[in-house]
């Protein structure tokens, strides 16, 4: 057990956190598979719109990742396949018939093959591109993330200790898969019977729960070593699969946010519809986000589903109003990483947020907040400026391979010039991927 204290970061205290461990089961009528969850996906369709589908039946095969299949978490009908520009896949929507008819589960003894046919292979993601790895490859290191990524979601430790047996079984699988080591990173000590994993206690402000921060502190990325990440939720699912020898698509989801009437914990299925998960739980004009307010996907009608890697739904108010002479406002209720508002003296415990950009788009003015909230091993201002101009050569040297898009959200939040570094990061890493794979 080693302790790691991460300096920097930022607490963004929103209203609406889940505190109690009371699970409510919710079945979702519509299920979505979103292509943006799978980096570099080139889909080959095994089924098409209107086809019947069973639980665990493969729908899409990735042409760029031989053998990897995306399976259906429910049984029913593929109600639509949505495409965007240049016919790129956006999402596949499945209407759940709630009959739960199972596709035949294939158990061969090979971990990769088995997890793939159980629809669990995409639990793993490989650095640097944060991409689902090849099913025949073996990692050197696996980082298990058990941190509370966002302060609003339920402390994962509560769920892990309840599902302890499954978590241990899941860790055994990781142990078998990893050639060098499995690292378990949590905010509190995690109980597990598995003694081979290396445990780390992480403390720090947002985004110190992100795996990128753990990786650089514990075992930084090298070209010669494969580094994979997985979240606690998927470890439990793998454990359940191993013990029951059947599909497991269930997922714990914290419904949170300042526009949420009653924050709670739900147990639902992977890819559930956000509108169904939050039905009756909000009374304002609000935005539904799969993920946290700082990093999450808020979809249109085609993509408003729980994303593959998030275990949280956030509802925030979408009512924005314009203030007269805003630049004179004292701001006793306004949150900021700087101390320009009265709130830096009155220090309210929590803040209400809406989806306002809170300012005009300007060129980057690096007043030093980037350095203050940075928890990674980068020079943030130069990194972000390189993102803004798309300088791929510089970005490689400045550390783009150590990071993934979610790490940029804290910089987007604090930026006084209102840049969206997550989007810029995506564009840049996509271009690098294309350069290296063409």
């Amino acid at each position: 057990m080693k302790e790691i204290k991460l300096k920097g970061g930022l607490n963004v205290p929103l209203f609406g956190s889940v505190e109690k461990f009371i699970v409510e089961d919710v079945e979702s009528k519509f299920i979505g598979i979103l292509s943006e969850d799978y980096f570099g996906l080139k889909p080959k369709f095994l089924l098409s719109e209107g086809d019947q589908v069973r639980v665990g039946q493969p729908i899409i095969e990735d042409k760029t990742n031989h053998g990897f299949k995306i399976v259906s978490p429910v049984s029913g009908v593929i109600s639509s396949v949505n495409r965007g520009e240049k016919r790129a896949l956006i999402s596949v929507e499945i209407e759940n018939d709630k009959k739960n008819t199972l596709f035949e589960l294939n158990i061969s003894g090979d971990i990769g093959e088995d997890l793939n046919s159980a629809g669990l292979w995409d639990s793993f993601r490989e650095r640097p591109f944060d991409r689902v790895p090849n099913i025949n490859s073996k990692p050197n290191y696996i980082f298990v993330n058990c941190c509370r990524k966002d302060p609003l979601e339920l402390n994962p430790n509560l769920i892990i200790s309840k599902e302890n047996n499954f978590f241990d079984l899941g860790l055994d699988v990781l142990e078998e898969l990893a050639e060098d080591a499995v690292f378990l990173c949590g905010n509190e000590e995690i109980e597990t019977a598995n003694e081979n994993v290396e445990k780390f206690l992480i403390s720090g402000k947002y985004p110190s729960g992100n795996s990128s921060a753990h990786i650089y502190k514990i075992c930084p990325i090298r070209k010669s070593k494969k580094t994979w990440t997985i979240s606690w939720q998927d470890v439990i699912r793998i454990g359940k699969y191993i013990s029951t020898k059947s599909y497991c698509f269930e997922k714990y989801v914290s419904v949170t946010g300042s526009a949420c009437i009653e924050p709670k914990l739900l147990k639902t299925v992977s890819g559930a519809s956000l509108t169904e998960l939050t039905a009756g739980n909000t009374n304002k004009e609000s935005r539904l986000i799969s993920g946290s307010a700082l990093y999450g996907t808020s979809g249109d009608s085609y993509t408003s589903y729980l994303t593959r890697y998030s275990d949280q739904v956030t509802i925030i108010s979408d009512e924005r109003k314009a203030n007269l002479f805003n630049w004179l406002k004292l701001g006793e209720k306004d949150h900021s990483a700087t101390n320009v508002f009265l709130s830096s003296i009155t220090k309210p415990e929590k803040f209400d947020f809406d989806t306002n950009v809170n300012g005009g788009y300007r060129a980057i003015v690096p007043i030093g907040v980037f350095d203050e909230v940075n928890v990674f091993d980068i020079d943030p201002t130069l990194f972000l400026k390189s993102l803004a101009i798309g300088d791929l050569v510089a970005l490689r040297e400045l550390g783009i391979f150590d990071l993934i898009p979610e790490d940029m959200s804290v910089f987007s939040y604090v930026c006084p010039s209102k840049y969206d570094y997550v989007a810029l990061f995506k564009d840049c890493i996509d271009d690098i991927w294309k350069e290296e794979n063409s």
């Binding site: 070209k223 007269l324 091993d377 959200s409 010039s417």
Partner: protein, 403 residues
């Protein structure tokens, strides 16, 4: 105000419209934006560039108000000592509206206002116009940074500056120091200082010497037994003895000395600096780096000593209070865009300003005032500083990554 809000909403132009950015900045002045976040980060910090600039602008107020009062103090004192009844130019009729009693606080303040407000108005209108015209033609957003550049430029002017010179200075600063390189955020020089340096070298007779630091002095001419020279100017000629016979350290610290409008009171400037550091708008690393560089360099020169150059003997606490050191330290050196962008770089950037300013003041024979040039030199150094700091980070990373 509903009327105004709906007026703006109704007349919102397309982004392709020539005047979109002009509309945007004017609308932003009245109403905060209602634009919704897109992408993955759904909430944003309440701070925007406008607020950042407003904080700096507010922070100049103590120096600005003291500057006006102080100008009146010296201007009226001079008129009284010389027995003149008029300042000799168009300011006079306005000054006479209130009075010219040299011991009346209100008269002093009014005197200063009559001199400062026209300068600020001229600079403000010219600066904002340059920014707006340039940005509209170049189709990029208009930045509130021009507010700060104009007020800082005005405060760095001597009281008696002809208005056309002030206008040409700020126009040069905004256009050449900033807009040619893409506007605020992309400038590698501090725009206000670029403009100040331009007029300093373009109109040396009006902007240096002993005659320009007290309002009215240039028009009426010098009188016996009266010197309008700044503390720094005196120090360059006569060293510590010269300063001591004219001013106490307390006077220079609290600002009862002639000089550029905003630079006189070190005390008020440091207060404003504390405010800007507290709000995290100014980098404390740059401020303490500059102080450290100045203290070390001036102490070193004190130790070396010189028989011919009296400036060698000036201790660091005098360097702090005389000339524009404090003004540059708090308002100019901390300008984030042209400074170094890494934390380590900010220290080095600050230290190099501190060292260069003492070198220019003490060793350079031509100009006693070194802060302006020191900051501009350090602006030029900043990219190299950042490059060095980052290459440490990148070479370490690439070595690890390829291993």
């Amino acid at each position: 105000m509903k009327f105004l809000e709906s007026f703006f909403d109704r007349n919102r132009p397309q982004k392709s419209n020539t005047f979109f950015y002009l509309y945007e900045v004017v609308q932003n002045f009245f109403f905060s934006s209602k634009v919704a976040t897109t992408g993955k980060t759904h909430i944003r910090d309440r701070v925007d560039v406008q607020r950042v600039m407003v904080v700096v602008w507010l922070a100049t107020f103590p120096a600005m108000f003291w500057g006006m009062y102080n100008m009146g103090y010296f201007g009226l004192d001079y008129l009284d000592k010389g027995g003149f009844s008029t300042t000799g130019d168009w300011h006079n009729s306005l000054i006479q509206l209130v009075g010219t009693d040299p011991s009346n606080h209100l008269h002093r303040f009014w005197f200063g206002m009559v001199y400062f407000v026209p300068i600020y108005l001229t600079v403000f209108i010219t600066g904002i116009a340059c920014e707006a015209i340039f940005s509209t033609i170049r189709r990029h957003e208009i930045n509130e940074g021009a507010f700060v550049s104009t007020v800082l430029f005005s405060l760095s002017c001597p009281p008696d500056i002809p208005l056309w010179q002030a206008a040409s200075g700020i126009a040069f600063g905004i256009v050449v120091g900033k807009e040619l390189f893409g506007g605020t955020g992309k400038n590698f020089l501090n725009p206000a200082l670029t403009g100040r340096a331009f007029i300093y070298f373009a109109y040396p007779t009006e902007l240096s010497g002993d005659m320009v630091w007290v309002a009215g002095l240039a028009d009426n001419g010098s009188i016996d037994g009266y010197s309008g020279a700044t503390a720094l100017g005196i120090a360059a000629l006569e060293g510590m003895n010269g300063i001591n016979s004219n001013f106490t350290w307390g006077q220079t610290f609290f600002g009862q000395i002639p000089g550029s409008i905003g630079e006189t009171s070190t005390f008020l400037i440091l207060l404003a600096g504390a405010y800007m550091v507290y709000t995290k708008i100014a980098s404390w690393r740059i401020i303490f780096g500059t102080l450290a560089g100045m203290i070390v360099m001036s102490s070193a020169l004190n130790l070396i000593g010189s028989d011919t150059n009296p400036m060698f003997a000036i201790p660091w606490y005098w360097h702090l209070t005389i000339g524009s050191f404090a003004f540059g330290l708090v308002y100019m050196a901390t300008e984030p865009v042209s400074a170094a962008n890494t934390n380590m770089g900010r220290w080095i950037y600050g230290i190099s300003i501190g060292v260069i300013v003492v070198l220019i003041r003490v060793i350079n024979p031509a100009f006693p005032e070194g802060m302006m040039l020191a900051i501009l030199f350090a602006n030029l150094l900043a990219p190299a500083i950042d490059f060095t700091i980052t290459s440490l980070n990148t070479s370490r990373r690439m070595e690890r990554y390829n291993s």
